[in-house]
Symmetry: C2
């Protein structure tokens, strides 16, 4: 059987890295030749999870068509979030929990998307459906993904199914989700060593909304003020990104994982869409979005509504 690569999105987060590792493992168990790779640096939250459960990060690649003809996508489908040469390979499978956009195939494929909080939740179900045991470290990576994507079950993207499956995984991984999870999130929220450019690219995704090119970057913190002290530096870097990528809008979302509110810095010709989408008034490019923690569920849809 021909070898395939499996990978998540650019600017990988914990769900993208762990889902690639875990799905490659499931494929191995089913006798297929699949290797997990990643399209970017491992962030400090993900590294905490990998270290805790003693699992190596996947190999990093820039392109995939030089290695394989077929690939599997996890945790994304939109072309601009994928490998830069994604059009040169055949996508045979997608396992995802996001909207479908900017995705097209020449032939039929296996596509499984569910409106749950995390790709790892779907993968856990697939292990069970295929009758495969989940090891302690695999359960740990899956649980870490759910905690990460759901901000410890606080995000509105988190479903009952995510919570139930996290409980099962907690038992196998032999950790307390609330304790382990907060430590993991804090490891990711430690941004003291990061440059402004790094903060902006840590978890950034680009979207096509109507005719507008929009980038939305998010950072978790336990101290919003600490991030805002660097606003001048951040604003300068955002302006540069808007210019170099010809963006119509850049939204930087600073999410407080203790209060579950977000502060946004929005820059670009379409920044007024933020006011309209969230019923706020940007002051000095900045506004607070109370109770907003989820880019996918609380930021992309209203912005898309304005710009689409």
């Amino acid at each position: 059987m021909t070898k395939k690569l499996v990978f998540g999105h650019k600017n990988p987060d914990t769900d993208t890295i762990c889902s690639a590792i875990v799905y490659a493992e499931l494929k191995h168990k089913l006798g297929e030749d699949v290797e997990a790779v990643r399209l970017g640096e491992v962030n400090s939250e993900t590294q905490y999870a990998l270290d805790y459960f003693n699992v190596d990060a996947p190999r990093q690649v820039q392109t995939v068509s030089n290695e394989v003809e077929q690939v599997i996508l996890v945790d994304h489908n939109e072309r601009q979030q994928s490998a830069e040469d994604i059009d040169d390979v055949q996508v045979t499978e997608v396992i995802d929990h996001h909207r479908i956009a900017n995705f097209e195939t020449n032939g039929p494929l296996y596509y499984r998307a569910e409106p749950v909080g995390c790709t790892a939740t779907i993968l856990t179900k697939m292990f069970k459906e295929k009758g495969q045991d989940i090891s302690k470290s695999t359960a740990g990576l899956l649980l870490s993904s759910i905690i990460s994507d759901s901000l410890l079950f606080k995000s509105p993207t988190c479903t009952d199914e995510d919570v139930e499956i996290a409980k099962e995984l907690e038992a196998i991984a032999q950790v307390e989700a609330e304790v382990y999870g907060l430590d993991m999130l804090k490891a990711g929220a430690d941004i003291s060593d990061s440059t402004a450019e790094e903060l902006l690219s840590l978890d950034a995704k680009e979207f096509s909304m109507g005719d507008s090119k929009v980038e939305i970057a998010q950072v978790n913190t336990v101290d919003t003020e600490e991030v805002l002290q660097r606003k001048a530096e951040l604003t300068k870097a955002i302006h540069e990104t808007v210019s170099s990528k010809s963006l119509d809008l850049f939204v930087f979302v600073i999410t407080d994982i203790l209060t579950n509110d977000s502060t946004v810095i929005a820059i670009g010709d379409q920044s007024n869409a933020v006011n309209q989408a969230f019923g706020v008034e940007l002051t000095d490019n900045q506004a607070v979005l109370n109770g907003v923690v989820s880019r996918k569920k609380q930021i992309v849809p209203p912005l898309n509504e304005q710009l689409g």
Copy 2:
């Protein structure tokens, strides 16, 4: 819970009609308010299946957004094959076995595509996964869909999984697939009442291949000669279609469901592509393609190769 409509593609075939009926039934069993509807006339093959298993056709609709806010798609995803106001409603689920193209959502959804021969195959698995019994008439509709899409298991689109599931359904539906299936296909192949224009539009799909605009229409028959007796009339209608739609090529595929060969009538500036794609020589616009029954797998790819 809000009511949803479930429907398949325009120019409905047996899989599209039956999958909508059956998925609505599964949703009812799971406590959801879902009604099956259709976007066009029931063809004579499908009517045979509905009559045989004593099931009513779904209600026909032109638009959906005047009735509901949310819909479920079966057996298709491409926008141009769906309800004309599909952009005005939210697609919450898709169950399909085709390529993904021209499809986009604002938010996450449940999407299940598998590279099998028929949507009904996936729906049968879903009944089993949800622990729901399949009634005799439901099994009959599901089996009819598999027989229709696979031309009685002869099409190269038919997978081992389709065949296995058809066997299970055969037992529940209490029919012999080979006997019932041939009768059903023959009912669909009875074209004596159809005008030339109706024959050309019965199962027609348009494709972009390179710079060429290509339409491929297919009709099943048990008597190719009967169709070819109307060649003058058909040729005239094809010329009119080529002219009115500015097509570069129109291929009319007459598939004999007993011999599993097809005779094509090809007209247009690019008709030479048919000679090259299939290694034949069109004589009076006509050629025989031995062993060719599947537009998706045996006609589109080689033509696309020539024109793309």
